[in-house]
């Protein structure tokens, strides 16, 4: 495997290999040495978490990082094509990690260069490293990926993270609750795909009694800018807030996840409960990205 562009390119075996390596690296990071290797972080859009998580992963394995963050003041502003930028970055580095607002940008870059390319988000399309770290977090929190009940809550229409997660879990016999306002529900083409894959799901507009029934409560932010009508936003904005009180009925093994940053959708009183898992999830991202970098650089046995 040369590049990591889309979850669609990964079968269950490959996913399990990444999960096993992330687990092994968390226990023993010294098994991989990426010293003298250079990662180019090519970020056409601002991102703190994904970029710093990648930088941390690379540096903790002994590697070096060079970065382009935003296009202001760069050759891109002067009119350089994406292909040319990528070809130059490939001469400076051993692996490219790219985030770009246009869908398919990472795939295109992977066709232009001879070194491995990792997609760190291409518009509303794919964010495979987030999907893999989510799977790793679910595996760590529950001990298995098989047969879990999950509620995905919030903006399910535009949320790339929840789309990828639904596909990534599909081979593991999950049961989903999709909880969102009607205007932000899971897109029909994704529901069709899940039906074809025989994945069980229920669509809901309120949390109701779901909290007591699930193993994972995966919460995403509802962005005000998604609503054409301010009034409609005001109506739904507080309908999906997770509080410590709401979690009283939760199963003992239940965990709350969130790709972060959160605004107010998870109340801070949840942080000190045994259900909070979102900060562990962020840490797991470093181990998963170490596994991805090591694998694509040919250093994983």
């Amino acid at each position: 495997m040369k590049h990591l562009i889309s979850m669609r390119d990964l079968n269950a075996d490959k996913i399990l290999q990444f999960l096993a390596l992330a687990e092994s690296l968390e226990k023993n990071p010294k098994q991989i040495d990426l010293s003298r290797r250079v990662m180019a972080a090519v970020f056409y859009e601002a991102s703190t978490r994904t970029r710093m998580s990648f930088e941390s992963a690379m540096k903790r394995l002994g590697g070096e990082v060079i970065a382009m963050v935003g296009t202001s003041g760069t050759s891109v502003e002067k009119g350089e094509t994406l292909a040319d930028t990528a070809r130059v970055m490939a001469r400076y580095s051993d692996i490219i990690v790219i985030r770009h607002p246009m869908e398919g940008a990472a795939r295109y870059v992977s066709e232009q260069v001879d070194i491995p390319v990792v997609n760190a988000g291409d518009g509303a399309n794919q964010h495979p490293t987030q999907s893999l770290l989510d799977l790793y977090s679910i595996l760590k929190a529950q001990g298995s990926l098989e047969g879990l009940k999950l509620a995905l809550v919030g903006d399910l229409k535009y949320g790339r993270t929840v789309h990828s997660l639904a596909y990534a879990l599909a081979p593991f016999n999950p049961e989903f609750y999709f909880v969102s306002p009607k205007s932000l529900s899971m897109p029909p083409h994704i529901l069709n795909d899940l039906t074809k894959m025989k994945v069980k799901f229920n669509e809901k507009t309120t949390l109701g009694n779901i909290v007591g029934d699930v193993d994972i409560l995966y919460v995403t932010r509802i962005q005000r800018e998604r609503f054409p009508d301010r009034e409609e936003y005001e109506k739904v904005k507080n309908a999906y807030i997770i509080t410590a009180e709401l979690l009283h009925k939760a199963k003992p093994n239940m965990k709350v996840m969130h790709p972060l940053p959160r605004v107010n959708e998870i109340s801070t009183d949840v942080d000190s409960t045994k259900y909070a898992y979102y900060f562990d999830q962020a840490e797991n991202g470093v181990y998963m990205r170490q596994a991805i970098l090591a694998t694509l650089l040919g250093e994983a046995s």
Partner: protein, 148 residues
């Protein structure tokens, strides 16, 4: 209804059963050379299609790849290679598994609409036909697409 006669060709290609009204789009894709002699027929009566269009090209045998390139807009077209006024070979068009640089992606957020690059689609459903963009991964009906 009395059939109209169109000159037969000696050597070349006949494309029959083009849906009525699409002959000019087919010509646009085939891009005849300046030396090709081309006859275009529109709205011929047809039992199966009610009305159909037709193209005859004298002096040029289209390759299967060229023929397949029209499959998205004329999926039922029948192609005959003519040698010495006789039908030498008959074939139907078939949409290729990979369609490269023939149609553009309808997704305005797709990188293929922003960079100077070739488009690439994979055939995911012959009946639509529906094509998946190999860059943005969206699936579209061929009828929503414009030819490059």
């Amino acid at each position: 209804m009395k059939m109209m006669k169109v000159d037969a060709i000696r050597n070349g290609t006949v494309i029959d059963h083009i849906p009525a009204g699409r002959v000019q789009r087919v010509i646009g894709i085939l891009k005849p050379r300046a030396t090709d002699i081309v006859m275009m027929g529109m709205n011929f009566p047809s039992k199966a299609m009610k009305k159909k269009d037709m193209i005859k090209i004298e002096g040029r045998e289209l390759t299967q790849i060229e023929v397949n390139s029209i499959a998205l807009i004329a999926p039922e077209a029948k192609v005959s290679i003519i040698r010495d006024t006789k039908v030498f070979q008959k074939s139907v068009v078939e949409i290729p598994e990979i369609i490269e640089d023939l149609v553009s992606c309808p997704n305005p957020r797709c990188i293929s609409n922003a960079e100077p690059m070739k488009t690439r689609f994979k055939l995911v459903d012959k009946s639509g036909p529906n094509l998946a963009c190999q860059y943005c991964e969206r699936v579209y009906s061929a009828h929503e697409m414009t030819h490059i």
